[in-house]
Subunit: 350 residues, 4 copies
Amino acid sequence: MAKKIPVGLLGATGIVGQRFVQILENHPWFEVAWLAASDRSEGRAYGEAARWKLKTAIPARVAQMHVSPAKPDGAPKVIFAALDASIAAELEPQFADAGCAVITNSSALRMKSDVPLVIPEVNPDHVKLLECQAWRRKSRGFVVTNPNCSAIGLVMALAPLEQQFGLETVMAVTMQAVSGAGYPGVASLDILGNVIPYIAKEEEKMEEETRKLLGRLNGSNIQPGAFGMSAQCNRVAVEDGHTESVSVKLKKKAGPEEIITAWNEFRSVPQELRLPSAPEQPVKYSTALDRPQPRFDSDSGNGMTTSVGRLRPCGVLDWKFTVLSHNTIRGAAGAALLNAELLKAQGYLE
Amino acid sequence: MAKKIPVGLLGATGIVGQRFVQILENHPWFEVAWLAASDRSEGRAYGEAARWKLKTAIPARVAQMHVSPAKPDGAPKVIFAALDASIAAELEPQFADAGCAVITNSSALRMKSDVPLVIPEVNPDHVKLLECQAWRRKSRGFVVTNPNCSAIGLVMALAPLEQQFGLETVMAVTMQAVSGAGYPGVASLDILGNVIPYIAKEEEKMEEETRKLLGRLNGSNIQPGAFGMSAQCNRVAVEDGHTESVSVKLKKKAGPEEIITAWNEFRSVPQELRLPSAPEQPVKYSTALDRPQPRFDSDSGNGMTTSVGRLRPCGVLDWKFTVLSHNTIRGAAGAALLNAELLKAQGYLE
Amino acid sequence: MAKKIPVGLLGATGIVGQRFVQILENHPWFEVAWLAASDRSEGRAYGEAARWKLKTAIPARVAQMHVSPAKPDGAPKVIFAALDASIAAELEPQFADAGCAVITNSSALRMKSDVPLVIPEVNPDHVKLLECQAWRRKSRGFVVTNPNCSAIGLVMALAPLEQQFGLETVMAVTMQAVSGAGYPGVASLDILGNVIPYIAKEEEKMEEETRKLLGRLNGSNIQPGAFGMSAQCNRVAVEDGHTESVSVKLKKKAGPEEIITAWNEFRSVPQELRLPSAPEQPVKYSTALDRPQPRFDSDSGNGMTTSVGRLRPCGVLDWKFTVLSHNTIRGAAGAALLNAELLKAQGYLE
Amino acid sequence: MAKKIPVGLLGATGIVGQRFVQILENHPWFEVAWLAASDRSEGRAYGEAARWKLKTAIPARVAQMHVSPAKPDGAPKVIFAALDASIAAELEPQFADAGCAVITNSSALRMKSDVPLVIPEVNPDHVKLLECQAWRRKSRGFVVTNPNCSAIGLVMALAPLEQQFGLETVMAVTMQAVSGAGYPGVASLDILGNVIPYIAKEEEKMEEETRKLLGRLNGSNIQPGAFGMSAQCNRVAVEDGHTESVSVKLKKKAGPEEIITAWNEFRSVPQELRLPSAPEQPVKYSTALDRPQPRFDSDSGNGMTTSVGRLRPCGVLDWKFTVLSHNTIRGAAGAALLNAELLKAQGYLE
């Protein structure tokens, strides 16, 4: 077997950082070689610095690794990042400047015009934006981003519709899991027996990221999708899995069978390239009356498959349906990892 | 003090039946004089037959009353009903035939063309439909209904907008409390850490009831509201209080201050008549970023006030906002009681 | 009406601080005149500084008051405190030194030999320890404490047994509400669908405080209760109300009726003095098979009554039963307030 | 590969029945060949009759099987049962009479003197009781039972202590998951934000089953364990995994290292025989301060390992600790399956 590519993790101790550690264990191409987190964690063993919150055990090898300072010196050339936006805005350019491939879940640079915001099944061609990045020209470093956890499930469900029928209007209301807010994140006193109808900046992210993801690469520019878009975001007492009630208007009329077929048969570059983390079926329609549900469907396709259900006519737009996606796998660490696999397959990581 | 009107309860042991018992305790006009429930409960003391699930203690006087057979013989002339739809379809006409005023939370007869579906603040004039009821002409009995628990909060928030600006389109996604499903209702295994994106017949009820409530009385007919309407209904792990993410398009353009004023200053017949259960302020706008929330706002106005918040522009329609309403008070027992108070004030109950 | 005594709140913005504000609203004897919290809140209006987490609205008058620095200068002579232990250890002596009556829910000084740890129904005579305090002799200031939220319900249930039958052994396992950890306190990711079998220092507090509370005042000393005692503490997904499974061995044999009567008829100094916050019935036995339960019984007696149920023989000790007590009312702010009322009645507050 | 033994499931549609289907999929020795449930399900495809509530998908082969009448005719010779006690009392003897090996999770016959109540790691020798069963002598059929879901975790933790140090006294307080009550089981209105301090007959089962399991086989009799025993049972808002706060007094003094070693090194017949469902480590001690927790530890050893933690001195008995065990795997279906594997290894199933 070929030698694995050493990768570093920025923000390794948080919930998404932990997911990175989890899904990179036994990865065929990548190997965690370096971990960085906040100053508080620096120098400590990862197993002590991270308050591990996943159900699988912390990988023994990584638990013993020491947490490095969050600086490019000594870091590997491939970096996964899961930082708070304000810190990412400062650190990610430093790493790119220093020649690192920064594959990040952070929101800081997602909407920057020369930064690709990518879902490999949806807009793999946007990766070409990298050629416009100043970092790339200067140091061969670059930054590639994946979308917000609430946008990604929605866009996975929308992409087959956009491709086959064209989207005119999209309305989405989310019911988002608490793990999306990190750890400690949402206080139990705020969410037990409750719904919080507000997540800071989430609706804005959903709306603009959806348009960029479904936009068209035009030379050095992304022309955002032209459809109408409105999102409302709520937090609910669920651990993992964002549920969304969606309504759409299509440009070309389509019957329910066509739509369901469009979802179930949707395959793309990651499936063609057999990328290691690509789900066999990226979008899966459930015929059960009351599915998808976070408890049962979040882990579908190892958390990489988006579940759709309840397709029925909408009294205002054309169709309404429910979307569910795992928010810290497909919606965060898994999204970045699939991006990295795509970049590797395309020769961007050597 | 004048003698109170004796009332009977059909479906007295269920969750909504219990709410009737609770809110009728110490009511200035009505007094529970008769209780009926399923055969299983018949002949037992109410305190034993009902598995009391409310936080206030079961009223001692009612606890000792015996559960009667669900037949008109011996029942008082004013009946509150909280029956399953299939049973209501059979029993409510029997009671009306026998001369009873049946004021019901059941869904069975809500959409019948000669049965008023009433929210006293919204469409008190629809009560006049009673004159068209065959029961009324025959025996002086009649049936008046209140809407579904998910429709009522929505319509309370929509009515001021419809009256002042006109509604063109309404889209609503609900996150509904488990008490809406009665007891035992939703199994804990189904809802702990979960969202269920399906409630049988709920979306249909929301859509058609909203149109009937905001419709116009035209002689012996209700002309339903002509706006576009789409609802999606979800169940969440909340005890009491339905939260809804709503988007609307108005006929006449309106700014946020006008809309908020329309809500906060909305007053109607129940407030003018000072009906005992009428909330001082039927619709209340919260300026907090993250409200309303079921935990904090469900009990507003003794559970009779509808809370609204988060008004902001909608990328597709005109405005989006969050609505919250207590589902077993304003959404069920309190709704029927306010209907009864309106009927009493209008001379229908003697 | 006599003029109310102005009181100050130390730690006013936390969950217990908020409870103080709530239960002092409209108090017949005391009035909030001064609020202090951490530096971060200083100078801001209380309504902005406190993230209000109670279901009743924040009192308007207090919301507009400004948060003062946590220093004795300018503070009233009666201070309620709800501080983290480490801060209390520093601040409370300063306020007592400066002549303030510090009535505190903080744990810092509870076990100090000259500081009374008091439940007015249980050991009102321990207040006399005040005469031994150096602060008292120097400045007339003093410190009185109430027990931990998990100890207080237990001791309320034990006191009637200790008085009538004598305690030989006590074993208690708690299932504690998240509000006991303050705000933000327990992360939702830690407690949704989970039990945490550990609360730092809680078992130690329960054991030593229970013994001090049921101890005997001996001149300037408390001789701790001599019974065997063991506690295990767990956190569960409940908002308010600590539930405890308790087993006891009594010195004098007693039948179930005697024990239940001892609980139901337990009255003490607060009831005799008709202290404003004293519950009519401090301990209430429920005969229902499956009670007490936090959802239904936490608010009993405005949160000041301890609920007991399920008395049955224990296969190892004599009897086992379930205890429930509201953890932020009787277990915190209400406990301190009742202490203050006792001190007022005894002439300690002028 | 040898042909698999065809097995039947009695009570196949319930929560435990579903677990049987799940853990028997791809079992090396057994294969589901026959399913029976209540009359309501009879004749329907299993996939339709069962409301599948597990996170893994329903096995396709079994989903298509038809549900048979619950009668011995046509049933295989090896039967797993997960029936309500009252139905089990009637049906299990019929199957045993007809020559079936009935390996049951039902409680009906557990305490019958000639019926083995077995945990293979704890009392495999009790299987010999089978020779005393009338069924066995008559038809070669027999009944073997496993304990209640709350007893099994406790006994797994107690067995190494009993074997090495002797048990004098055991006190246990449980916090039990809702899946233990089956489906629909506990109503969400009863358990959201709540603790229910009562589970019908559970404490009695825990006490008597623990004594029988740790008892000694004496010819045709089990001499129950002579230690003192007391249990209190509570229901909490957890999906899977019973947590227990336990205190013990040992006959022979033991230090914490000895006790932890006794747990961690506990191995028994299933490990020696390498039974397919035997966990490598039956009891696992966690050194983390706040573990075990149901969210993280229920699935340990595929749900067959009992987790123990928080060993510390008890103020009344010798030691206290926390035990956690998966209630529908090790506590139900997995328990019966391990019993079946033991019986197969001992030649009882041919």
